[in-house]
Symmetry: C2
Subunit: 420 residues, 2 copies
């Protein structure tokens, strides 16, 4: 792969020619070296640091304390049924570290004792069964990187630009490697009866979260997962066991999974009637809109990550994903959609996983209207918000996968704006 700035391979002197834009002192003759305080001897070069294993579990640098999940107090009446957001603007690559994964609970974080964990399979099965955690560990396991996106991600933006930062507009998503047992193997153990066409996974938290899942999806790629990024699930993510429903809305990925009932029709529970349906302009509602459509967002520059280095070489980066497959292509525009440029993808391209894109260019300091547009492996192209509103109106909270715009001013400050 050849790396390119703004579509051209950079000249070897590209940075030097632009030295004025990068601050004095970037180029440095040997004779100037000793005089430059920037490369002077520092305390950490002269003193021994801490020894190994001063904490049982390694933590980020004290200088990264600002990199954290955030909630917004006004969003919900109580924190036990609320959300915090992944700091997408501070991350790179495609893996979300476990400590920074967004969370959404309906009755707070259940703290299960793994020794008391049980998973029951009942309903239209030949033999109702109960599994301990140790039983589950005796089934064959698989490993997959999947994004989990809340259906309400970007939901506030239906009515126009609301939240100033991609952490808040797009941060109800994370992307981790799961280890788990294919749900198919567990269902085959209990024996699904011919009449069995739907599943009702149920959570062991006080909300007893339930959703109707078609059997076909369960037999295809659902996992009963117990690890994320190699280690046990975090409590906020359903420790010790959650359901993984690849590419489908996060609400279906039942945490603290305690029971799966097999039935012949959907249950029409609260979370698929009153909630997680898309109210249209005519008063009807789209239902069972499970698959997450292709979507992307520029994570830097963005309102929480302004351009601070002035003109010259500038890296635009962001993430894209689709519930239907991979993302072979992302386009970026600097001028609100007049001209589109194909971005460079970097990192593994995996099914129903986040993808990372970059677009490098020489910024002349003039205002920009930044957007990204994802293409998925089915040929689907991410629409504008206006295109979505024409079809879905502005009543919905869920499934807003419209193109996001950041306006960058001459100082490099970014703002969430709407353009039409």
């Amino acid at each position: 792969m050849t790396l390119k700035f703004n579509g051209k391979k950079p000249s070897r002197r590209a940075f030097l020619q632009g030295a004025a834009t990068m601050g004095a002192g970037l180029t440095l003759g040997g004779q100037a070296r000793a005089a430059d305080p920037a490369i002077a001897v520092k305390p950490w070069m002269q003193e021994l640091g801490d020894g190994v294993d001063t904490s049982p579990y390694g933590m980020p640098s004290e200088y990264e304390a600002h990199v954290k999940r955030r909630n917004v107090e006004w969003l919900t009446a109580d924190t036990v049924s609320s959300i915090n957001f992944t700091p997408l603007h501070e991350l790179d690559g495609i893996i979300t570290p476990n400590g920074l994964c967004f969370e959404r609970h309906h009755a707070g974080v259940a703290r299960l004792d793994p020794r008391e964990y049980r998973l029951m399979i009942n309903g239209l099965v030949d033999t109702p069964m109960v599994f301990t955690l140790e039983d589950l560990m005796r089934f064959p396991r698989e490993n997959h990187v999947y994004f989990l996106e809340c259906a309400a991600n970007s939901g506030m933006e239906w009515r126009g630009a609301q939240l100033n930062g991609c952490q808040f507009t797009h941060g109800m998503i994370h992307n981790v490697m799961y280890t788990g047992v294919p749900l198919r193997l567990i269902l085959e153990e209990a024996g699904v009866r011919t009449a069995g066409k739907w599943l009702l996974p149920e959570g062991a938290d006080a909300s007893a979260m339930t959703r109707s899942v078609p059997l076909e999806k369960a037999m295809d790629d659902c996992l009963v997962a117990f690890k994320m990024n190699g280690e046990a699930l975090r409590p906020e993510q359903g420790y010790p066991v959650r359901l993984v429903v690849p590419g489908w809305e996060g609400n279906m990925w039942v945490k603290w999974l305690r029971r799966i009932e097999v039935g012949d029709q959907p249950w029409h529970h609260r979370e698929e009637t009153s909630k997680y349906t898309d109210l249209l302009a005519d008063g009807s509602a789209r239902r069972f809109t499970w698959e997450m459509d292709a979507k992307s967002v520029i994570t830097s520059p963005s309102p929480q990550a302004p351009i601070t280095h002035g003109k010259g070489h500038t890296v635009i980066t962001g993430v894209a994903w689709s519930g239907r497959g991979t993302i072979p292509r992302v386009d970026v525009t600097l001028d609100g959609g007049i001209n589109w440029h194909q971005a460079r993808m970097s990192g593994p391209s995996l099914e129903k996983s986040m993808h990372r894109f970059y677009y490098e260019f020489d910024w002349d300091g003039s205002p920009l209207l930044l957007q990204s547009r994802a293409h998925d492996s089915t040929g689907y192209v991410q629409p504008t918000k206006d295109m979505l509103r024409k079809i879905r109106g502005e009543n919905s909270i869920y499934h807003n996968n419209g193109i996001q715009t950041w306006a960058i001013n001459a100082e490099g400050i970014a703002e969430n704006v709407e353009i039409s």
Copy 2:
């Protein structure tokens, strides 16, 4: 992919037929349900849990406190120049979470202020240069998952079975996704002179770690990295910037990278003469043995992860890696190498990354001699320890990639043993 137990597709009733081996009460008629204390109502189903964002950075469950990096007090005279070990026996998949990555320092953990961070390029270059962290962020970035293995990993085992647990025998390895700038781009910016053939990266800690790296490797795939698994490098891993030298021994991945000097020959510094060379039986030493040969280890069952469920369905799992490419195949033996079975690989197969393998079988309760054997994409096959000893003797500390044996007794207890 079809999942198989012991080479055969499991029958739908496989677990039920083996119910006696899985404990009474696994199968459960609907009428027995209310009476089973295992699926009784639990406190976490009746009480609201904690709300979101009770901590700025999410942490593992309290029930996972035993999953931690560990050191051994007797290994080194001082913790500022010591090691702790990744808990491989507790992990699954291929990603090592940042909080559990092994660490090795030579003068403790340097705590750099990122605002004062500088990277100098000097020596045989057209223009010596100094970059701030912000400067580095203006270069094009790439994302790659790579293993980092200390050359001394398994070093204690040259003289026979020493340490009872794969965390200690094989835990000086981790596998994360790095985001960084190809070193090639930075060197092209300074302009390497024709005579420049070697690099000397230097760390900003008090050990001023230096290693000689051939220019060819630097131009191929080295990264100047600032993120691991999406977030900033951990202090123990070189925050804010480390060198990534894919597939090569960990000592060369200079942490807290402050300077790269270009020269016309290697420097023969301490870490490539007195240390990190392989002393042979005849008193001569192999030098510049950078590439890590293909290797594997069974992580469960293993001395720290015994079989606790008794006879019947049993999952063997482990990891494999090669500094020369991918791992298309791993074999597992239950009888110390008399019969080998091809393991099932699961998870992305990426260059110079860990791979995860599984082998599922029905254990009859008789003693086992478990081994795994990696094949890499060059055709190289992991050797026995005896084969290595014949060539390298027993003086070395480094580059032991021999096959590891765990003896499992009838109670499922695993022990580190040597067989010949």
